[in-house]
Amino acid sequence: MKAKHQRLVLALVALAAIIGAGLLAASALKDEAAYFYAPADVKTKGVEPGRAIRLGGMVVKGSLRRAADGVTIRFNVTDGKATVPATFSGIAPDLFKEGSGVVAEGAFDRQGIFVATNLLAKHDERYMPRELEGMQYNEATHEMKVEK
């Protein structure tokens, strides 16, 4: 075997080992590196009241209510598997609305309501002009369809 080939084999083996280690580390981090808890995670893992977490999901359509004081809002957050109620007092980002993604920072109270201290709006990977609003994007076929 020529020295060049020896080095090539060595480099490839080392590279495979490094990538393997990286992937193992990444998969071990799967839960730890999560940026937020989805409502289903909250239900299955159980988050004790008062512990500061981020809760992420979609704002349930028709669930957004504004309290009489004008600054407090109540809404439900869902990930399709579970739904939890949340409340927030303050200024929500412009993109925060029903049917859209949200990441809320805060903690659960004793009644199981998520009291948010900060709201972040999460948008999806679709971009389209206003004329096409209401079109539904099919993730499997990558086609736009009119929402029924």
Partner: protein, 240 residues
């Protein structure tokens, strides 16, 4: 590639190629940016904010592509001992770090009006920041290991480049593996979830920035080789 092992032959091709990459690249960037600012419709959700996409996406592409280039150069240095591989790695590092920083800055500016935050420690943002630190580490290591009469980088620097390459697929998959504030990938092998009328200016800006990146790398490689020549001549003179 070993046809270009001779720096003189490399320079003969690199010199005219620099201009051919630089000027068309600049024209495409300006044309694409103008189209993205003036001709495309606003996004249904984000309005005009979405237009930063035409800078943010090419910057992310070149930040990550730059490190992929450094890793390939490192492999060529370690395995085939290509004399210009180390020079290429050093030349790519600075513009790669710059585009990574531009990606982080434009992402931050984009995040404030859309998400409501300048910065969050989610998987995508954190792994991209790690890439910037990797670039800075590579530059420091390459400079520290530079020896008289050697234009390339040390083996340790090349190994560092290969190890750092692990971060590239992590950045790419960060929004799929972990739930994150950053949205999932818009452009995949199966198609694009960016509607066509908003997507097309991305083609000229992506191509333009890439050509420009190539021109900058060639310029820096030529500068490093010239610097090396000057130093070698000075040493010869000093020995008299």
């Amino acid at each position: 590639m070993h046809r270009f092992a001779n720096p003189a032959r490399f320079l003969k091709i690199a010199r005219p190629l620099t201009g051919w990459l630089f000027w068309p690249g600049l024209a495409l960037i300006l044309a694409g940016a103008a189209c993205g600012l003036l001709l495309t419709p606003a996004d249904y959700l984000q309005g005009d904010t979405v237009r930063i996409l035409y800078i943010h996406v090419p910057a992310a592409w070149l930040g990550m592509g730059g490190w992929a280039g450094i890793a390939v150069a490192a492999l060529m240095q370690l395995v085939w001992r290509h004399p210009l591989a180390g020079v290429a790695g050093r030349a790519i590092a600075a513009p790669g770090a710059l585009f990574t920083a531009i990606c982080l800055a434009t992402g931050s500016i984009w995040g404030r009006p859309t998400w409501g935050t300048w910065w969050e420690w989610d998987g995508r943002m954190t792994s991209m920041l790690v890439l910037l630190f990797l670039y800075l580490g590579y530059i420091a290591l390459a400079n520290a290991s530079a020896r008289d009469g050697q234009a390339g980088v040390s083996s340790v620097t090349a190994i560092f480049a290969l190890v750092g390459a692990v971060n590239i697929p992590i950045i790419n998959r960060s929004v799929v593996w972990w739930n994150s504030l950053h949205q999932g990938p818009s452009i995949t092998l199966r198609g694009s979830s960016i509607e066509g009328s908003l997507l097309w200016p991305l083609a000229p800006t992506l191509l333009g920035f890439s050509l420009w990146f190539g021109a900058i790398v060639l310029m820096r490689m030529r500068a490093i080789l010239a610097q090396n020549k000057v130093e070698a001549r000075m040493q010869r003179l000093a020995r008299g």
